[in-house]
């Protein structure tokens, strides 16, 4: 039975709260306080709260009576009765429970009382016994006191005696140690005795011992020094030696010096070994060497290894650089590291003990070490640099790079050993210098290669004559394939050759930046090497060099037709043009990709290079036109100047020189056609071969100078020709040409015909002289129109020539047009 009634009850408390209150009341009873009580008390200030402390039955009753109906009151009463009953039974249960607990507690307390009484008795007994023991003990110590004092004294004497014995035996012992080379023992023994001996040195016996010891120790020190000096001993021995000597008061500075000078002598030996090798290799530097280039077998311009010493061949020196560096590393650098390590072990990192600590040895020793290392490293570096400088052959870069890598890597050991040392950074500088030098070498090698290639091209051109001349117009370049390489073949092979060479050089140089190379992450190799070195110093410089050397061909050849074969000029011009259109950007893109060039510093833009290449191409082509024009001009000029035009016979043939001119022009046409596109011609009449010409010769030409033969109208010629000129454009003879065949040929023909004109104007002609010129010009007209962009140009110039000849003619009676045609048809 629970206290609370389920529904009809009016108490404000709900069921769980009521139960909690019961518990809390119990807790209160047992002295257990709960935090929640205050709240509950506040809550129960209501006098109608039946469970609250301020419950007022009067008020409650009044309230009930006021509020409730009779029926409700009845209900309330019965409910109240029920609650009272349940509370009663609860209380009873609790009372019972607590009563039992009290009973058992009382029992326990009674039992404890008995136990304590027994314990008290035993404690009394113990204290009595202890008192007896104390008394006895006091009596015993009283009796033993004298003996104890004696024993203490005796033991003191014993110790002293043993010490004395040690002292007296010391010389002998030291000697023995000396004999057995047990230096460490000797030193430690002596050290122990030293102070005492020093202290009692006024006593003769001790003095003797001290002197003896002194002598022995001196001897010992001597031996140690000797051992130290001999240096044959291991590092550990040496270190022991130094340790002992230091303990023997040997000045540390002297020891350092000795140690270092000793080490130096050994390192010097290494260096001398290296130097000797260096000299050897210098003497045995010449030698055959294997061809490194993978030259395409039948390539017409593979560099002739016989003529020039190809820089791409690696010199077979006595030892290659890798061996050299290896030797340097294994002998010198590792010895140096050992020396540094043992030196540091001996002088710097040793535990500071006793008086030695005060002398500040490490600082002094460290200073000495740095000087020592720097001096030796400097010599080593100079040797390495000399060796690197001997590395002229640029064939196999990997060897050098590996050598440098090893060189650089081994120096890192020194960084670890000797943190503050400048040696590794010097080493890096050497590597950087070597890389710079390498780039220069590669550039000059490329340049040499380019020159050699051109020489080969020259030879190929000069050799059994490019077959175009013989193959005449119809044959074209196709026929020349079997014997000598044609121009396009030469061009492609030259261009491929250069490109391949450049690529292989790039690949070689790229080794410097490979990931597994220790120095590749140095700032120089990440930045400047790629941009200023490889891109600018190598690639751009080489391209510029090509352009420049091409331009030089134009300048040097100015006199007397020049020594450069025209075909070479043409080929180079095409090469430069190809560079402008594609090759340069290809090469630079390739370089940028390979080297991930980050342009911190301004670099030459592709466009500038292209412009330069184009300019070179233009210059070369202009020069080609000039040279070819000059060759034909010379023929024409000689033919006009040397002939007696007044007293010549009636023309029966076209003069041989004209045929030669046409032939040469044709072969030039073929030659240019091999490398350059056709180009555009000005639109001309449907078939302008003969018809146009006949139109020209029958109508225009006759109109042009027919009237001048009649003495009645002397001015017409000038008038007509002037009117003609007024409407025709001015012709620039030596003017820049376009990059196509027609333009080139037009240039050449212009030059030739203008020369012809000027030469005609300073001669005087007889009747047949004029007729011969007529025939020649007609012949030229028949064949030359097809080469030029605007055939009117040829018409015009030939008109001028015939007109001038007519003017310069003493007896101007021209030949019948039909006769001219017949003669020309006949060839």
């Amino acid at each position: 039975g629970d206290g609370d009634l389920p529904s009809a009850t009016t108490p404000p408390d709900s069921d769980p709260t009521g139960r909690r209150r019961v518990h809390s009341m119990l807790k209160l009873y047992y002295g257990l306080n709960e935090e929640g009580t205050a709240a509950e008390q506040a809550e129960s200030l209501d006098p109608c709260d039946i469970n609250g402390p301020h419950f007022d039955p009067e008020v409650y009753l009044n309230k009930l009576r006021k509020d409730c109906s009779l029926c409700e009151l009845m209900d309330h009463e019965s409910c109240m009765v029920k609650q009272i009953r349940s509370l009663d039974s609860d209380m009873q249960t609790l009372v019972y429970e607590n009563y039992n607990k009290f009973i058992s507690a009382t029992d326990t307390i009674r039992k404890m009382k008995n136990d304590f009484k027994k314990m008290e008795d035993e404690m009394d007994c113990l204290s009595a016994n202890m008192a007896a023991i104390t008394e006895f003990s006091a009596r015993i110590s009283g009796t033993l006191q004298d003996q104890h004092a004696q024993i203490t004294k005796l033991s003191g004497v014993h110790t002293l005696l043993r010490k004395l014995q040690f002292l007296f035996e010391l010389p002998a012992r030291l000697n023995k140690c000396l004999e057995l080379q047990a230096y460490a023992q000797a030193v430690s023994a002596h050290r122990r005795a030293r102070c005492v001996l020093q202290q009692y040195s006024h006593m003769p016996s001790f003095r003797g011992i001290q002197d003896d010891c002194h002598v022995i120790m001196e001897q010992l020190a001597q031996q140690l020094r000797q051992k130290f000096r001999d240096g044959g001993s291991s590092a550990k021995d040496l270190s022991e030696c130094v340790e002992l000597l230091l303990q023997l008061d040997e000045p540390a500075e002297e020891l350092c010096d000795k140690f270092l000078s000793h080490a130096q002598s050994r390192l010097e030996a290494d260096l001398q070994g290296l130097e000797a090798e260096l000299k050897d290799s210098a003497f045995t530097d010449t030698g055959g060497g294997s061809v490194q280039k993978t030259s395409p077998g039948s390539n017409p311009i593979s560099p002739s290894s016989s003529s020039v010493i190809n820089p791409f061949l690696s010199p077979t020196a006595g030892t290659d650089i890798l061996e050299f560096i290896d030797r340097g590393c294994n002998e010198f650098v590792s010895s140096l590291c050992l020396v540094i390590a043992s030196y540091q072990e001996l002088f710097i990192n040793r535990p500071q003990e006793g008086e030695l600590a005060s002398k500040n040895i490490p600082e002094m020793a460290n200073g000495k070490l740095h000087v020592f290392v720097d001096t030796l490293a400097a010599r080593y570096f100079s040797l390495v640099e000399r060796r690197i400088q001997e590395e002229k052959g640029v064939g196999d870069n990997s060897l050098l790079v590996r050598a440098l890598d090893r060189f650089h890597r081994r120096l890192q050991a020194i960084t670890k050993l000797l943190p503050g040392s400048a040696v590794p950074s010097h080493g890096t500088e050497i590597v950087v210098r070597a890389a710079r030098e390498r780039i220069k070498q590669y550039l000059s090698a490329l340049q040499t290669f380019y020159h050699d290639s051109l020489t080969d091209v020259r030879q190929a051109l000069a050799a059994p004559r490019l077959a175009v001349g013989g193959a005449s117009a119809s044959g074209g370049g196709v026929t020349s394939k079997d014997a000598t390489p044609s121009l396009p073949e030469l061009l492609t092979s030259l261009s491929n050759f250069i490109l391949n060479q450049l690529k292989s050089v790039l690949a070689s140089v790229h080794l410097f930046t490979a990931k597994d190379i220790t120095f590749s992450n140095k700032p120089y190799f990440k930045g400047e090497f790629c941009s200023q070195g490889v891109r600018e110093g190598l690639v751009v410089s080489f391209i510029k060099f090509i352009c420049q050397s091409s331009r030089q061909y134009c300048e040097s050849a100015g006199d007397r037709g020049g020594s450069t074969p025209p075909a070479l000029l043409l080929l180079l011009s095409r090469l430069c043009l190809d560079y402008e259109t594609s090759t340069i950007s290809y090469i630079l893109t390739l370089t940028d990709e390979q080297f991930l060039v980050q342009h911190h510093t301004p670099v030459t833009p592709v466009t500038a290079l292209c412009a330069e290449a184009r300019e070179a191409a233009q210059k070369l082509l202009n020069h080609y036109v000039k040279v070819q024009g000059l060759i034909i001009s010379q023929m024409l000029r000689k033919s006009v100047e040397t002939r007696d035009w007044v007293n010549t016979i009636e023309p029966r043939n076209v003069r041989a020189v004209m045929k030669r001119v046409v032939e040469d022009t044709t072969s030039i046409d073929v030659q240019v056609g091999l490398l350059y596109e056709e180009g555009v011609r000005k639109a001309h009449s449907s078939d302008s071969s003969k018809r146009t010409f006949s139109v020209y010769s029958s109508s225009r030409q006759q109109i042009r100078y027919a009237p001048s033969y009649t003495p009645s109208a002397p001015m017409d010629t000038n008038l007509l020709s002037n009117i003609h000129k007024l409407f025709s454009e001015r012709i620039d003879i030596f003017s820049p040409v376009e990059f196509n065949k027609v333009s080139v040929l037009t240039g050449i023909i212009k030059i030739s015909l203008k020369t012809f004109l000027e030469c005609v104007r300073i001669r005087t002609f007889g009747r047949y002289g004029l007729q011969q010129i007529q025939v020649d010009c007609h012949y030229l007209q028949m064949y030359l129109w097809r080469f030029v962009s605007d055939e009117n140009l040829v018409h015009f110039l030939l008109d001028e020539i015939v007109g001038s000849a007519a003017h310069r003619c003493l007896d101007p009676s021209p030949m019948e047009q039909s006769v001219i045609e017949v003669i020309c048809e006949r060839g």
Partner: protein, 389 residues
């Protein structure tokens, strides 16, 4: 001072022409002489008087019936005396001869009376003497002794240098000394110039691609610039103010400047023409001004300050310095003078074979093209003032 004062004045001859000279002895009137080339008609010498004030040309024509004229040259002492080289055809053989002529005294007055009359009945030159020696072959040119008394001339014939003395009022010419160029092949002088320096004892000649200097006292070669030009050398001229400086031009389209003391390399080289350069002339007073004529039908006036006798511009006198300080400041502000092309004259439509500075007006020059067109031009006013001021 009108703007169109700078415009060219053009005069057309009826005949083709190559020979042009300024009337050297005439220092008052601006006068040029042109010799025509015609095989069919009588050749003429046109005397072109330029009226600077009115920008007009007055012409007179004299008949030169000896043959077509290849070269013409006026006496430095007597303005009525001139020489021509002309070709003469006899027995189907063409030979170029040279002669000294005197202009008739009336030509000047005659031309003013009625132009029609004078052109219809032109007066004829009076022959003073022939400079002939058929044994020596065709004459390329005749050179008067510069600044001389008009009594000594040199003719270049084939490979001979002939030094003539003119006596008895130039009516008699005798060869006083000769020199001959020996060598392989057919050597032939193409041009020559008598140096105004060194007391007129030096001559320079051109044959093929070589330029040679001669000492007239010993008639021996002093120096030789082999391959001075890539091709034929067409003309030469001495710098009037710098005794060792010399300009040459030729078929390689170039104009080269030489210091004859260092003949291995030209001092300077111009390559502005697009065809053969036929004529080169230093201005007589301001040697930075250089005139060239070419068969590309162009005349080019260049300002070669760097190798002139006034490389730093007009030297300021001490008086001017003390004048005022503004001048000095202006001088400092002036940019350094540089060699440059002043102007390219395109009035010709045929090859220009001759250019000449006026003897009277240093700012005026004439050029002659093969079609008979004579063009008179002036140095641009701006440049003129820059040189003068």
């Amino acid at each position: 001072m009108k703007m169109d004062d700078d415009a060219p004045v053009i005069y057309g001859l009826e005949f083709q022409a190559r020979a042009l000279t300024a009337q050297t002895a005439e220092t008052d009137a601006i006068r040029f002489l042109v010799g025509t080339q015609s095989l069919k008609f009588d050749n003429q010498i046109h005397i072109i008087d330029f009226d600077d004030e009115n920008n007009m040309i007055n012409k007179s024509v004299l008949l030169h019936d000896a043959g077509e004229i290849w070269h013409i040259s006026g006496s430095p002492a007597d303005k009525a005396v001139l020489t021509t080289c002309y070709s003469k055809t006899s027995e189907n053989r063409v030979l170029t001869c040279a002669a000294v002529w005197r202009m008739p005294p009336e030509w000047e007055s005659g031309s003013h009376e009625s132009p029609d009359d004078s052109s219809n009945n032109p007066q004829t030159l009076e022959l003073l003497c022939h400079l002939d020696n058929t044994a020596h072959g065709s004459v390329a040119c005749v050179l008067w002794e510069p600044l001389g008394d008009g009594k000594r001339v040199i003719s270049l014939a084939e490979n001979h240098v002939l030094l003539w003395d003119l006596q008895e009022s130039s009516t008699k010419a005798t060869i006083s000394s000769t020199a001959t160029l020996e060598g392989k092949g057919q050597l032939k002088f193409t041009a020559g110039k008598w140096s105004p320096h060194h007391n007129s004892t030096q001559l320079v000649t051109a044959n093929d691609t070589a330029i040679r200097g001669w000492d007239l006292r010993s008639m021996s070669q002093i120096y030789c610039i082999e391959n001075a030009h890539g091709q034929l050398v067409r003309d030469l001229d001495f710098n009037p103010n710098k005794q060792y400086y010399l300009a040459s031009c030729g078929d390689d389209c170039k104009v080269k400047f030489w210091d004859v003391r260092h003949i291995n390399e030209p001092v300077k080289c111009l390559e502005e023409h697009s065809h053969w350069v036929w004529s080169v002339r230093y201005n007589h007073s301001h040697d930075q001004l250089l005139l060239t004529g070419s068969s590309d039908s162009r005349v080019i006036l260049s300002n070669m300050v760097s190798i002139s006798s006034e490389p730093f511009g007009h030297l300021v006198d001490d008086d001017d310095l003390s004048d005022n300080e503004e001048n000095q400041q202006e001088d400092k502000g002036k940019e350094p003078l540089q060699d440059s092309i002043i102007a390219t004259y395109e009035e010709h439509e045929d090859s220009v074979y001759a250019v000449e500075w006026s003897a009277a007006d240093p700012w005026l020059f004439a050029s002659l093209s093969y079609d008979g067109r004579l063009v008179i031009n002036r140095v641009p006013r701006a440049l003129k003032y820059r040189i003068l001021l």
